[in-house]
Subunit: 391 residues, 2 copies
């Protein structure tokens, strides 16, 4: 019996050696063709037309890259396409989500202190676990850093990460640290636990469900505009003092967002189980469309119901932005967008910090925002560029 | 009762608003001081001395950054400091590990085809799960890519990732895709499952245990040298054809490593339970020192027992490198280094593909390599720079 096992493992060993050798041959051929390709690059008469990444956009690229992905484990209840992956543990599930923050793309160290950056990097990931109605548990943090950064700067960054881990009770359990050719890159992965029947997917909304959102929206984006403005002023005249007084709320929402892990208990407390949920990282419009797509429903959103800070509305107007557009397309609020059954209306309508902003419809009815004067405007996921043009 | 819950949640909401406001005030102060600091940078009479990252080294930096890390969940059995974090699920545990690959630091696209790069990025992470004696389960892949890359290049990269996922039966369940200012960066996180009593930590080795290694070592590093040489030749004269014939094994080990997930079953088959285990990513010497440090033991390694491919030895000599140094300091072999009880000697001594290369001793006896002529040389973790100087 034991000899059998040994033999079998030796056979499997040999087979893997053969497959190894075959791959080495193909490696070698591929390598040679690659080197030839590089060599002939300049003289190649008809290079194949390549697709630039900007043509595809982030979601188009992800769809393209992951279309051949298969699952091998029945425990994988959800893979790509929600706020977190879901792995079956019996009564409970394990959630996993990951986010990347790249200097020059996601943050600007001119006005983003390292401690805040660390805090935010942790929070945006924890927010994904909150969006699945889970409890965050563990985190890994990987850094790629160029030699321009000092250990003291990274101390601050980690102080922010550890501060968030302390607040949200998340165990920092690993990571990887590497040099980088240029700039700073932070990759965070977070896991969480949830009861299997409590997990909220993007796909659970049904026609008639109420569309709800926590907190208020648009301030993080306005905070970014304020910071960008002060940065320009500062670049022109380094003796100018940054004029942030009066923008504390907006700047705080941008530099130090929070994850709404409290919403899970709030909803349990009032006996409401959300039918679908997502966190608002890209803007209300984009997140609503995700829920509609994954749930196969349409929606009616009432513009006048979108919760916004009064001062944020004013500042938006100063920047010549329609306030609701800051909420719809601004993003980075990290509030939760969720749907509940219509029957739960009485339970949820008077809860402070939760706004009912519309309801879901049949897919055929489309996805519309109803303006205060009754016009129906199709909801589209605008990029940030779109915002100022429309204003 | 329900009113109570609502009130409590409103109170907690208010408290969190207060804490939010306090932090915003501190954000604002910090921000102002930061902008002032930037402004005064040139005129500051005594800037504090900052610590460069190169002074600390990777492990020194990790120790420094993570010294304040606390755990909040008793389920976290192991955090930072092993091949993977370990989370208690009852009879089983969940493993999690993450690795970063940065262009210009970890790979060179001159000779690394995208498909191989994807394959390798997946494999080096799966190897960490194998090193914990676990079964890999799920993977997330995050990419930061500059506009220099085409969708077709990323198709190839993903084809390699998916090929590895198929071979090792790992579910690709998520990730994040971002622009990058420069270059390509790949961050992979992998999870796995293991029986709680089967998990092998770096800390389990005891004096008297046998030190074993799978496969052969040093070829991946020699493969890298061959590729680097051909790259230089190619840069001098682009009409030269790369001369890789005869180096298939070494080049294959560098461009397309495999994870030894098969070792788990092999050891179960012969009834041997390893007492500690680690995968060889940084070189045999560095990994032995990790086991010694975490287990609180010393070791005697016999140079003549280190398994190496005969041709790799020859090529090493051509490059004026002592062959064993390629194994000790080269890294990237992704074989498994493990210890077993001395009682298991008979079971393991004749297994093809496993070499007994030494044994563990009391910590006080030190960490030595015994050369074929009987000299005892202290084992040190040399950087790559050290290798050629010593040769």
């Amino acid at each position: 019996m034991q000899v059998d096992t040994i033999l079998k493992s030796q056979i499997s060993n040999l087979k893997s050696q053969i497959s190894n050798l075959k791959f080495q041959v193909s490696s070698f051929k591929l390598l040679r063709s690659l080197m030839y390709e590089n060599k002939n690059k300049k003289t190649a008469p008809t290079a194949p037309k390549l697709t630039s990444l900007s043509e595809l956009g982030e979601f188009g690229l992800i769809d393209r890259l992951t279309k051949n992905v298969k699952h091998y484990h029945p425990e994988t209840l959800k893979g790509i396409g929600d706020d977190a992956a879901v792995f079956d543990l019996g009564d409970k599930v394990m959630l996993m989500s990951t986010d990347l923050l790249v200097e020059g793309i996601h943050f600007d160290l001119t006005y983003m202190p390292f401690k805040h950056l660390g805090y935010k990097a942790a929070v945006v990931n924890i927010s994904d676990i909150a969006a699945m109605n889970g409890i965050p548990m563990q985190m890994t943090v990987s850094l790629a850093v160029s030699s321009r950064f000092s250990a003291e700067a990274l101390d601050e960054l980690y102080a922010g990460i550890i501060m968030a881990c302390d607040k949200y009770k998340v165990d920092l359990v690993g990571g990887d640290t590497s040099s980088n050719v240029k700039g700073l890159m932070i990759s965070v992965t977070v896991t969480g636990i949830a009861n299997k029947e409590d997990v909220t997917y993007r796909s659970g909304a049904r026609p008639g469900d109420l569309l709800c959102v926590t907190g208020d929206l648009g301030s993080a984006y306005i905070g970014l505009l304020v910071l960008e403005r002060e940065k320009s002023v500062f670049q022109v005249d380094p003796n100018m003092q940054p004029e942030l007084t009066g923008f504390d709320y907006q700047v705080g929402r941008q530099l130090r967002p929070e994850a709404r892990t409290d919403v899970r208990n709030l909803l349990i407390g009032i006996g409401v189980r959300p039918t679908s949920m997502i966190d608002i990282s890209d803007g209300l419009a984009s997140e609503i469309l995700h829920i509609c797509k994954h749930s196969g429903v349409g929606c009616k959103l009432f513009e006048g119901k979108i919760p916004m800070d009064a001062h944020t509305r004013e500042v938006a107007k100063e920047y010549k932005i329609i306030p609701s557009v800051a909420a719809l397309s601004g993003g980075e609020d990290y509030e939760l967008l969720f749907t509940v059954k219509q029957d739960d209306y009485e339970k949820i309508k008077d809860i402070a910090g939760i706004s009912i902003i519309g309801h879901m419809t049949a897919a055929a009815e489309g996805k519309y925002m109803i303006t205060p004067d009754g016009k129906a405007v199709p909801i589209t996921a605008q990029g940030w560029d779109g915002m100022r043009r429309d204003a």
